[in-house]
């Protein structure tokens, strides 16, 4: 077997075929896939290490992940971790079907390879779909919060449990502020989505409900819980309110530090982009399998190479899962 099967070498003496020696006993393609994976692994490590630095920098005020990711599709109530755990299983399982496809390839069983590849693609699509749902939930938010002029995020609690703005702020926006759209503006310039409630309205609702308390980002490091302020201290903090935050974007989020959401979007987004590329590669290889390309070639090494990439995507998710959701 030549080192690189894609370049026929016999008729072209100009091209160096590399002889019959294979460095490390691996084919050119497989070796390069591994070194690509190595470099990509270092890229992800860079992101996760930067996340680690930022988290250490704000160690006493970082959002608590299992208070942020608590939703499961079609279910009400709070189920911290459950949905990401399911996503992790889907990805590990699609890794298993991938490795079974490689295994079937070694035995030259074309149909089996095709079916396992198909299952892998389906698993990948379900994972990306789940990721999209997760992003949607994160962006829309659940509770809402306010942000002060000092950039601190204040959340509201009742009996120690977080409570949504909609549960205690009544009525429509009181300041008659409406979303600016091309329809209602003569000189239209785009405007970011405005919040459902005005700042004054939230403060008034806080003053009217004696059982609502303000929770700050600051963590009690002995208990690993966020600090809940007394009514008076809460009113003092609320006086500094600059804006109402519902959900998350790159500038503000209701969960806490802005850079928390930025890292969430960036790291899970970059991973999701890898999954999407992996699905596309898998689909290409899947059709090649069906067309009998590798049957004719005499081996299924291409399935193995794309499999390496797919397992790498799974490997990265294992780390993202730990450092974003668990630790």
């Amino acid at each position: 077997m030549e080192a690189n099967i894609a370049v026929p070498n016999e008729n072209n003496k100009e091209t160096w075929g590399g002889g019959n020696v294979k460095p490390f006993g691996a084919s050119y393609g497989k070796m390069m896939m591994w070194f690509f994976i190595l470099s990509d692994a270092l890229t992800f490590s860079g992101f996760l290490a930067a996340y680690g630095l930022t988290r250490f920098k704000f160690i006493d005020s970082w959002p608590i992940a299992d208070e942020v990711f608590t939703h499961v599709p079609f279910m009400h109530g709070e189920y911290p971790m459950i949905y990401v755990a399911i996503m992790t299983f889907i990805l590990i399982f699609s890794s298993v079907t991938m490795v079974l496809a490689v295994d079937a390839g070694h035995q030259m069983k074309k149909n089996k390879v095709a079916w396992y590849m198909f299952a892998t693609i389906v698993g990948g699509i379900i994972f990306v779909g789940s990721q999209a749902w997760e992003w949607n939930t994160f962006i829309n938010g659940t509770y809402g919060a306010v942000k002060t002029t000092e950039g601190k995020v204040l959340q509201f609690v009742k009996d120690g449990k977080q409570i949504a703005l909609a549960d205690f702020v009544v009525g429509e926006r009181t300041d008659n502020r409406v979303q600016h759209t091309p329809k209602n503006g003569l000189w239209f310039e785009s405007e970011k989505t405005i919040s459902n409630y005005s700042v004054a309205q939230v403060v008034a609702a806080y003053n009217a409900n004696p059982d609502i308390q303000v929770r700050t980002e600051l963590m009690d490091m002995d208990l690993k819980k966020k600090t809940i302020l007394s009514r008076e201290e809460g009113a003092l903090q609320l006086a500094k309110t600059k804006m109402v935050v519902e959900g998350a974007n790159l500038r503000a989020n209701e969960y806490g530090n802005t850079i928390f959401a930025d890292f969430f979007f960036f790291i899970t987004g970059f991973h999701g982009f890898h999954v999407v590329s992996g699905i596309i590669l898998n689909i290409i290889i899947f059709f090649n399998v069906i067309l009998g390309t590798y049957e004719k070639r005499g081996h299924y090494e291409m399935v193995e190479k794309v499999g390496l990439y797919w397992h790498f995507v799974d490997l990265v998710w294992v780390f993202v899962f730990t450092f974003f959701y668990l630790v």
Partner: protein, 112 residues
């Protein structure tokens, strides 16, 4: 290629079982967060150490069995694993020390 051509499906399913159990343990601990593990430990909490060790165990399973590193030539494997492990430990150590320094320096200036 060092592969035997008989199926290794059994071994694959076994590794899948192990990975699943490790994930379940992680998720279970992540949900209940027992105080004894969560609130104390060297450097970070015991719970975090458990998560990190289980994660490395899962990474080993994926890389060695699924990605078939176990069947590659010894120095091919080392060229990948040693490079990655050395560079990542180096980077993470420096950045975490730096992050801790930033916390020590900046947090006294933050008004809560």
């Amino acid at each position: 290629m060092a592969h035997a051509h008989e199926s290794s499906a059994k071994r694959i399913w076994m590794v899948f079982g192990i990975l699943s159990v490790l994930t379940l343990v992680e998720v279970y601990l992540g949900i209940i967060k027992p105080d004894a593990l969560h609130l104390q430990g060297p450097g970070t909490s015991w719970l975090n150490w458990i998560f990190i060790i289980l994660t490395l165990a899962k990474a080993y399973g994926i890389a060695w069995v699924f990605m078939h590193l176990e069947g590659e030539k010894k120095w091919f494997r080392r060229s990948i694993v040693w490079s990655a492990v050395f560079l990542i430990i180096y980077l993470v150590t420096l950045l975490l020390i730096e992050g801790d320094y930033l916390y020590e320096t900046l947090s006294p200036l933050v008004n809560w």
